[in-house]
């Protein structure tokens, strides 16, 4: 069996699994509606719960989700005021915060990681701080950030910064610290200067490890931004999810979940492609 047919089979199986899942979902939701689950519920209470006459269960069927997804995709960038923006705009706000916080974190973590990796003294001096700061949930910083920064959007960026700095810092330090002795000795016997050694030998040698850290960081940042935006509100995909929950629009919540997953996958793939560029076979 060749690689291609094996890939084709996997794809086919994926579609079958998806179809079975969607079919079961459709049946379950439709079934609940047919049995008249509201039978013995007070109509007024039912209306209060948002499952009023005619609207059926709050749990949408896959077809309804599909329709809603199409509506989002056909007009992703509309803006009808603070509580009604297209999903594209919301995702762009979230991505903007993630990229800002992430890039600042990279700009701090990679040079600092270099220093820690190259100097055992710095490593030992900074290690206790890193060990204490690393396990703190990034959201725990939020009140402190809101109090000191006094700007909810920048606070969200700060939270992204603080959560994405650790994997990059530790991986850079590890990568730099474990550059093969032989390569450094080659540079030394060639009387290569410190700066040239750092850029031509240590950086390329550690690049795959650094890129792994960057990949872990972007994944964490994308996980955290949803929670952070639920807290600070205003704009972003996290706020969108929370807003739609308050509107009891489960359809939109599910759409948002799908989009969050898709964007997360794209971010990971981009970083994966980048890391392939710096990988070397040894």
């Amino acid at each position: 069996m060749t690689q291609a047919t094996s890939g084709g089979r996997a794809l086919l199986l994926s579609f079958v699994l998806l179809a079975v899942f969607l079919g079961a979902w459709q049946l379950a939701v439709g079934g609940a509606r047919d049995s008249g689950g509201l039978g013995d519920m007070d109509p007024e209470y039912a209306a209060l719960m948002g499952v009023g006459a005619g609207s059926g269960s709050a749990m949408p069927s896959p077809i309804e989700i599909g329709r809603e997804l199409w509506r989002h995709l056909s007009d992703p960038f509309y803006d009808n005021g603070p509580n009604d923006k297209g999903i594209g705009i919301q995702l762009a706000y979230s991505l903007g915060r993630v990229m800002t916080g992430y890039l600042i974190a990279a700009a701090v973590a990679i040079p600092l990681g270099f220093l820690i990796g190259m100097s055992p003294l710095f490593y030992r001096a900074l290690d206790p701080f890193i060990q204490i700061l690393k396990p703190i949930s990034p959201l725990a910083w939020m009140p402190l950030a809101l109090y000191t920064i006094r700007d909810s959007s920048i606070s969200a960026i700060f939270v992204i910064f603080i959560c994405s700095i650790w994997p990059m810092l530790l991986n850079t330090a590890f990568g730099v610290g474990s550059v093969r002795r032989d390569w450094l000795n080659v540079a030394r016997t060639l009387e290569v200067g410190r700066l040239r050694t750092a850029f031509r030998v240590i950086l390329p040698a550690a690049a795959p490890t650094i890129m792994t850290g960057m990949r872990i960081s972007i994944a964490i940042a994308w996980l955290v931004i949803v929670a952070a935006e639920m807290l600070v509100g205003g704009t972003g995909i996290g706020y969108f999810v929370w807003n739609e929950w308050n509107n009891l629009s489960i359809t939109n919540v599910i759409c948002a979940i799908l989009f969050i997953g898709l964007v997360g996958m794209v971010l990971d793939q981009v970083l994966y492609r980048l890391s392939r560029l710096v990988t070397y076979a040894d």
Binding site: N185, V186, R188, T189, L190, E191, P204, Y280, A281, D282
Partner: protein
Amino acid sequence: MDRNKLISVEALTRRFPGLNGGAPVTVFENLWFDVAKGEYVCLIGHSGCGKSTLLNIIAGIDHADGGCVIVDGQEVTGPSLDRAVVFQGHALMPWMSTLGNIAFAVRSRHPRWSRAKVREHCQRFIDMVHLTGAEHKKPAQLSGGMRQRVGIARALAIEPRIMLLDEPFSALDALTRGSLQDEVLSICARTRQTTFMITHDVDEALLLADRVLLMTNGPLARVAEIVVNTLPRDRNRTDLHRHPNFYPLRNHLMDFLVSRSDQLRTRVEGIDPRRPPLVFPRAEDGPGAEPSVVAERSHA
């Protein structure tokens, strides 16, 4: 004093700190020898006698705990472009191509050279080690022998005064090793490159070296004898073993590695560490007889 002395190792001592704060281990102590300009000197000894450590100290990437290495009248205090090293495990940068690895060395030597000049210079050495056509291949795409050729070209390309080779062929199969030895032999014959090489291959030493230093087992290793290669300098791997002096030499070195390297460890009396006995194994007593060993004491 011999004015041709390019490397002079004087009273060299190296100790490693003991495990768990124990007493330090002396790898070698009071080591004396020298290498003349244009000479090819091999050092033979068992693993663990500090051969690589010694080479690293001469290269300037390790330090001594006593004594010193003098190169051309200057004490070695650190690495220098005058002393190129070919490492045991090729030590090529895997993210650079053949050309990139050699150019990295050439640019270190000649930072002001133009791109074209560097390229041209690299090409000369790539051709010299017969790697023409593999310029843009990464080390992972090369065979073990080709990688070591790149390592040799990289060392030669900076045109050092001294080449230091740390068991450069030990990881290669016999055929590849043979062809690389031929290449090194012809390059050194042409350029009269001063070379210090570590090996544990007796035939390799006889093919390449002018003198072979025999080092006893460590710890407390020392140079027990200096064997002068009595084979004519114009050597050839295919008929080297036909020369009458070949087996006396080879047996002498093998005897040393098999038994004497250990016996000599404890027998220190009567040997001046500054002047290890100089021996000239020759076939003068005819076949079957003990190979005659002409020892000379006053060579300094």
